[in-house]
Subunit: 500 residues, 2 copies
């Protein structure tokens, strides 16, 4: 068994190396590649992915897995080796079920679709995007059938981002919290708007960047194993053990996009920096799921970064950096301003109270499309009526409505709900952390994040992808993923701020 | 034949894609990678190289080549397809002759050796580097034997950088010019030194960078298909069709390193930007040889960038950028200063008149080591006595002598002479260009480089690696590579400057 395991690991190391190479190709594409390189970059990334896929789905891997599975019961089921075999088996089964023509078709679809989407959004022209989106739905429907039988057709795509999570579970969670979030937002809307006009001024890019680095290195994001670079659409990426980078953007005359984006991405990067070195170069070298990943980014962005205690420490520091813009403000006024709740059209700019509703409408639409009960051409109508129902606003055009996100154009169905689930998980964990670290907020007020990071490292980060998301959250908090804690957090926070 | 050729091309495309991925991994390693990423990066690059090598040396490629070679006589021997088959056959034979253990041994040697060299140089401790260098020599001796019989043992390693060039040819060329260059330098040394003190001042990095970009984009280096980034040891790299980048360094209080380095690397990048798109993703997608490549970089750096006419146009512009440093100087004084001839210890900082002598002593040492007639432990002594003989100076320590270059530590033997050959070729071409473009210097004086670049594109760049270096130079100039034109250029230029 030892020898076969070593053989498997060697192949998996090479597969991981290739995927890190592709991550660098992707990072560079967004951050530094000159425009002329676009086409060649597509070929290079295509070749690297294809070879990684071939290596991973080889007959040799299949044989090794078969042999290893017959003896896996000899191992401690929580050991790295047992989990490695389990996760590799799961990924292998999925990867080998999809015919290579469908893999190629998907890559082609993503590349053509990205372009079609950009043009459609630019011209706010949904009809020009319809036929492309129909192809995406069709591809995903055929994909789903490869995994029949299923409880719900949407389970098959959700599983790609949340291993073993079921559509019914997500629906139950969302159905529970949706009316309560809608109610909360309505209550807030009746109150006086928080003033955030001071956030809409010019803030020097370089100074913002240095302030961000000051904060997130204090969090524990290690720049000897990372860096921040400017892009249009920020993300975090893992380029191999010891190299986890974030990318950031700057609002032209708006403070929020950089700082909250940077703290968010730093949260993702700290997760990856905390994965045990012994898991590197294997399928366990990554987060448990997208939602668990998002719980980390949202925790540092929101639970820490939008808290009163955080700004009690950092606002005076920020005033030193931007005296003319913020010199006359109190820390409390700043806190209120950055926590303004205001239903808005664009998901990525939404506040903590409204964000999940953007996700819920997308999930409903995705499910209906995949089920075949909603035709693509009817999307704008459904989108706009849901926006009115949940948030009380209607997009003036499709560019600010149904065309705002890139995901569908790339072929991704099943992705969106992870954003909202991440919010929920972040507060479930936060409650547990407050039990374990009773003076958590005092520590935050002193910019002392060591105990928090160390808790996250121990409970979550170091395990990488060893545990499925529900299993992990259950182990840590004693409950499955649910919306109760998040709702309570929202109510408490905004009742206080808005004097509800 | 058509079908087999298409099959071969598909494999070669993938091999090229992998090598471009590795080029990006290498570029990032030098330009942006955080220190923590070093080890993982080594594994990733190792895996990508290994897979590229496996693909290229596969039985399938061998079979396809065999079939294609039997029919290659049906093709025009200068056609892209005929040349592709020829070059691929040549590279395949070489790549398959080296056992994979030796390939791995070499990678290990390069990685360990780089570290050993850095430490040895830091402490100026040659003995600590001896055993490593002995391994490098031993590896190269074993490598050479794989290619027996040969005319000269050194032919086998030279061929890796200058396809089909013979040691005897290089020795004949160098033996011809060495005494004449030594004589010239002695004559200059008896004259009054040119004043270059104004170059040793502080010049703002960002302003230097912008000035450099102004110049090299006027040359024709297209930044929509390139970019410049800061590193410790500058280089140019090709990341796939449409993406050719340069890297640059800045002297802390010295003008020369940035600008002449940038023009040099831009010369390399323009070569790669000029290769025909139909050659992309194939073994023909690159320069004819390192020497031909160097002829392009040295031409833009020296023949253009250190000419009186060039600075007659650009010096007033440079004065606008650095008025306090250069405001009181004449263009002529600047021209004299940047052309100061002064025997110095470090190759990369050498002027046009002394540079080749640094190369010749290295070549002599390499040949003697490979022949086994010089023991590694005796290197410092030989180095220092040659420096005294050729340049009239003796290094105060080995860090500034035999330990200054990285090449040997990485296992490269056979590389150095390409630098000097590049100088010679640049002037051979330059003579021909002046015949074809009689008002070349007038054009340079007006910053009009279009005719020059177009000549280079047509005669050299577009052909990529279709022709071997001697064949290419012979086709263009009617002569093989030789030192006559370079010697004449040096004599004319420095007789005038130094009033010899």
């Amino acid at each position: 068994m030892k020898k076969k395991l070593a053989q498997l690991k060697t192949i998996l190391e090479e597969v991981d190396d290739l995927s890190r190479a592709n991550a660098l190709l992707g990072w560079d594409q967004q951050a530094y590649m000159p425009p002329g390189g676009a086409q060649a970059r597509g070929s290079i990334m295509g070749t690297v992915s294809k070879i990684a896929h071939q290596k991973f789905t080889s007959i040799e891997v299949g044989k090794l897995l078969k042999d290893l599975n017959s003896k896996v019961s000899d191992l401690d089921p929580d050991s790295n080796d047992a989990r490695l075999i389990k996760v590799t088996q799961r990924d292998f089964e999925k990867a080998t079920k999809v015919p290579s023509e469908m893999v190629a078709e998907r890559a082609e679809m993503a590349s053509v679709g990205g372009l079609a989407w950009r043009q459609a959004r630019e011209n706010s022209d949904f009809p020009s995007f319809e036929s492309h989106l129909e192809k995406v739905v069709d591809w995903n429907q055929r994909y789903a059938e490869l995994f029949a039988p299923y409880d719900h057709v949407y389970d098959t795509v959700l599983d790609n981002y949340e291993p073993n999570m079921k559509t019914a579970e997500v629906q139950a969670i969302f159905n529970d919290i949706r009316p309560k979030q809608v109610e909360l937002i309505k209550a807030i809307a009746e109150k006086k708007q928080a003033d955030d006009s001071f956030l809409h001024q010019h803030f020097d890019e370089q100074k913002q960047k240095e302030f961000g680095a000051e904060v997130f290195t204090q969090f524990g994001y290690d720049l000897n194993r990372g860096r921040q670079d400017k892009v249009t659409h920020p993300f975090a990426t893992n380029l191999g053990y010891g190299d986890q980078r974030i990318t950031v953007r700057f609002g032209e005359d708006f403070f929020n996009p950089y700082i909250f984006g940077a703290l968010h991405e730093a949260g993702h990067a700290m997760y990856e920096q905390g994965i045990g070195e012994e898991l590197a170069r294997s399928p366990l070298y990554g987060g448990a799921s997208l939602a668990v990943h998002e719980s980390q980014s949202r925790m540092w962005e929101n639970l820490v970064g939008r808290s009163r205690q955080f700004w009690s420490y950092y606002f005076p520091r920020l005033q030193e950096v931007f005296p003319s813009q913020l010199g006359n403000l109190s820390s409390e006024e700043f806190y209120i301003g950055i926590n303004q709740v205001k239903p808005s059209l664009i998901r990525v700019e939404a506040d903590e109270a409204t964000y999940n509703l953007h996700i819920m409408l997308r999930l409903e639409i995705e499910i209906a499309m995949l089920e075949g009960s909603l035709e693509v051409k009817d999307l704008p109508e459904v989108w706009n009526s849901r926006m009115q129902e949940y948030l009380g606003i209607t997009p003036p055009d499709d560019a600010q409505g149904v065309l705002q996100d890139v995901h569908w154009s790339m072929g991704y169905l099943g992705y969106f709900s992870t954003y909202a689930l991440g919010n929920l998980i972040s507060v479930q964990l936060w409650e547990k952390i407050q039990e374990d670290i009773p003076d958590l907020y005092d520590k935050i007020e002193n910019a002392d994040f060591a105990a928090l990071l160390s808790w996250l490292r121990d409970k979550i980060h170091r395990h990488g992808a060893k545990f499925e998301p529900q299993e992990l959250i259950q182990r840590i908090t004693g409950s499955k993923i649910n919306g109760g804690p998040y709702l309570k957090y929202l109510k408490d926070k905004f009742t206080e701020i808005y004097k509800l």
